[in-house]
């Protein structure tokens, strides 16, 4: 148990570190790359909705930075 919680903490930390950045102020005229469609948190809402549904019906874990709708009788 302890080991997995430790593991859980290190992965997000590693993600932040792998960006190798501290927060730098970004001006409106420097946001071109951030505005690209492929930089969205969810670039493809249709595909994302489909995958969320498949994963929800096959795995125990669910939840994240989006609201989940209702369940299903997927057995």
């Amino acid at each position: 148990m302890k080991r997995t919680i430790l593991g859980a903490m290190t992965v997000p930390l590693a993600l932040v570190c792998s960006a190798c950045v501290t927060i730098e102020p970004v001006q409106p005229w420097q946001r071109g790359d951030l505005a690209r469609a492929e930089m969205a948190f969810e670039p493809d809402p249709v595909q994302a909705a489909y995958r969320r549904h498949v994963e929800f019906s096959k795995e125990a874990a669910s939840g994240g930075a989006t609201l989940s709708g209702g369940g299903c009788g997927c057995n």
Binding site: G64, S68, G69, N75
Partner: protein, 401 residues
Amino acid sequence: MKNDERRTRPAAAGPSLSALTAAALALPGLAQAQVETDLLYSRYEEADLPGSREANGQDSERYEIDTYLFRLAAPLGDQAFVANVTYETLSGASPWYVQPRQPGVDDTPVQVMSGASIREQRTDVQLSWALPLAGIDWGVTLGYSTEDDYRATSGGIEFEYTPQGVAHTISGGIGYSYDKIEPERGASSPDVIAEADKDSLSAFAGVSWVLNAKTVLQTAISYGLHDGFLSDPYKRAYVADGPTLVADSRPGEREQFTVSARLRRYLSGIGAALHADYRFYRDDWDIEAHTLELAWHQMLAESWRLTPSLRWYSQSQASFYAPYYQSLRSDGLASSDYRLSPYGAVAVRVDLRKALPGDWEIGGGAEWYEADGSYAIDTVEVENPGLVEFLILNLRLGKRF
């Protein structure tokens, strides 16, 4: 802005249309309000369950699902309306219960599949309405999903807020769902309950940071509470010291927590965006899960976009789960569902899309997913024989007006 010297040449990678576009769209009234329509067809096919994992020793076919997903997003002034309609047909057999191969002789758990082939359909409509109010972007969602034996009615409110002069955006939401199940009697389910229901509450809160001109990070926490009938009415659990088969029986309440992070980094030298997502999950059934997803969005010449991605998932088992039971637990709980078993899974995906003249877009993709005890973080001593392997192929078409 104040530099000491005049800019003398454009950025190394040449001028950026997206930089100009982002600045232009920040002007009032310049965002082009286009209606977006998307159609996704997806074929989901589970691999046969091999005879070596089955009680009757024969291979058996599992689920196949054909899904049609239609999405319409229509701007209405500074508001927007989005509809997602899903229609799917499902057919095939599903795991019924797990038993020892030869009670008393061979303890290896093997699967017993539901006898009759299931055939059903599901229709799901999700509507959402986005509107800015008092400097905050609000979203209201309503959903209704119906199957032969299952109905879910859901609703929620979300918000997104970027305070003036800061580099982060705060988001959050709260949702509710009422689900009702009215199981059908069949060969594998002669004595199912007549009906049952559950209430689900979910909430999330997140912050996204612009770390620099090429990197954004979002972190979020979420909470889910389910109350009511959370068992699978069609499944059974095997108990060696009789009665031999008991109904799948899970606690009447479940609390879920997640902590997640999503990183997006643009690599301008090669024109690609790297996505890295991680989620830690824990619930009060003692399941812990990790999900890690890496995706590479590569822009190619002539408006092609290639996106290979990898996903890894690992979960521990629910406290009351067992492939089968020697004797009934004192709390009466029992479930042999592979979803509550310890396992890991890997998925490999690739998507290809191309923008066409006239604001059309076509695309296609494939995903292969395999669950296996060996992919789990912790050693899985006894693997559930019903773990899935599936292949998804999809085609899509999009049009902007």
